[in-house]
Subunit: 130 residues, 2 copies
Amino acid sequence: MSNKAKGSKAERELVRLFTEHGWRAVRVAGSGMHEDSPCDLIAGKKGKKGCTIEAKSSKKSRIYITKAQIEDFIVFSDMIGLKPVIAVRFNREGWLFLDPLKRHLEDSGKYWVVSLERARKKGKRFGQFF
Amino acid sequence: MSNKAKGSKAERELVRLFTEHGWRAVRVAGSGMHEDSPCDLIAGKKGKKGCTIEAKSSKKSRIYITKAQIEDFIVFSDMIGLKPVIAVRFNREGWLFLDPLKRHLEDSGKYWVVSLERARKKGKRFGQFF
């Protein structure tokens, strides 16, 4: 399976997770590799603040996101008036949710990094986060 | 060109229109025919209320939208906290924008209808609407 197909599959899994919790989520067209989309999902639930979601899954123990991508994600979320959320999934860990506006990501120069250790420490499960 | 390809082309044209006016717009995945997406675009601009957009273009003089689709569109927009907007484009008319929460659509039983005449009367150009 290509990385793009894996990304789409992970996004659809995340859409289902939102749906199971009574949210409604949509995937943004053109998300995945080499395309210029400012986020992967947009989700809402009555009585909650709507969210933009950047989803990343990996079989490795560190996830890298370029600073340009995170900046674009935060600027877009602000323009549209929704709350930016980073969703990460490591092997056998399930989805964990992080706030890019808090110190949940580690700075490594060109990239923001989420390590498995960091995600376990700072990340929250769906029910805790939302 | 298939209806789906025409729809995607019209949506991309609309994304450009938003971009030209300093907005940022994204297309929702799975929009187009026979798919279950609650809107076509999501757009925002700093200082403006974010919008969900349902886009319809036609070479005929009447555009039909099922009531179920409009209801789903309005419910989703409300869940996510964005303003629903209908964008219609008839041949040689350019895009016109309508508010589905006002009496901009005509009731024809199973469908809400936007006629060219109605769109000219009730619809607004981008700069007037937003």
